[in-house]
Subunit: 160 residues, 2 copies
DNA sequence: GTTCGTGCAAATACTTTGCACGTAT
DNA sequence: ATACGTGCAAAGTATTTGCACGAAC
């Protein structure tokens, strides 16, 4: 399923190396726990909730990657500050996180209005280009400093 | 500012009449408090947070439109159930509400990653059409029942 | 040894719920 | 009279913070 799983297909340099660079730039330490979080997000094919990250950190076959909830929150905040991850909103009120677009590659989400699940999707390049051009114009008109856009499909997933 | 304030410009039938119809259809009462909430959302040129709705309900020059917090939450839930309003997510974790798209008209948001503020914007019809076509195809491929899409500009607003 | 990371428990913020009373049908 | 709406206060969740201890520089 190449279309529905864009993360696995995109070539990208070593994520830890890149994240490590960003930690260095911000004079922060790239600890093992932080590495573990990044690994989880890298492996997932969708943004993860706090609960999902906690659960997965415990299932990492007995390693010392288990993370306390408070540390997780704190680390997510730091990871966001150094530009390694970003928070994405679904239809429910659970926070979800994914690697930033410049690491993961630009993509969009298909999200279920019933259970809140998100899946990654990509759209054709020419559409992206057209969107960007339009947005740039709109932003300029409003004195808005455009950083990125988000575009999601909302509906019901197979399981709901 | 016609481009940055799409709600004021679009002609639409009386909102209370339409919302009233939806309440009737669901055999629910369209009480004064509920009317007051709808009026606030109709007047705003952006989605409102709980706090904003509460504050504004108190500023309605001495009228009995003041709403208790618990009632507000309950009413927002009912309003959502009858299809009058919808919850929209920004970059912070505050819930925001606006009238549903079929009442308010399809539009998008420009949202500030710093303060969470959202403003309404519209994009050209042909772009919308192209997006819809692409999405329909993507959804079909994944067994996903597409209901709507959301497309937002993210950046920094004039004030931040 | 000083600075930063971690875990636990307590505190806070946002949202939901139970219950008694008021309002509309 | 009955069903539904409202407000208050209590309960539930999600998230943040204080503090003591441990690890990294």
């Amino acid at each position: 399923m190449s279309a529905s799983d864009p993360r696995k297909n995109s070539k990208r340099p070593d994520v830890h190396l890149e994240v490590g660079r960003r930690f260095a730039k911000h004079k922060q330490r790239y600890s093992n726990k932080r590495r573990a979080i990044v690994s989880l997000l890298e492996t997932a094919d969708k943004p993860l909730t706090i609960t999902e990250i906690l659960r997965r950190s415990k299932n990492t076959k007995g390693r010392r990657d288990e993370i306390a909830q408070s540390s997780l929150y704190r680390n997510l905040s730091v990871l966001e500050d150094v530009g390694a991850i970003q928070r994405v909103a679904s239809t429910d009120d659970l926070s979800r996180y994914e690697l930033t677009e410049d690491i993961l590659g630009h993509h969009h989400h298909m999200l279920c209005s019933s259970c809140g699940e998100m899946r990654d999707v990509k759209i054709p390049h020419h559409l992206e280009a057209e969107l960007n051009a339009t947005f740039k114009r709109l932003a300029k008109k409003s004195g808005f400093k455009l950083a990125q856009h988000r575009l999601d499909l909302i509906g019901r997933c197979k399981n709901c």
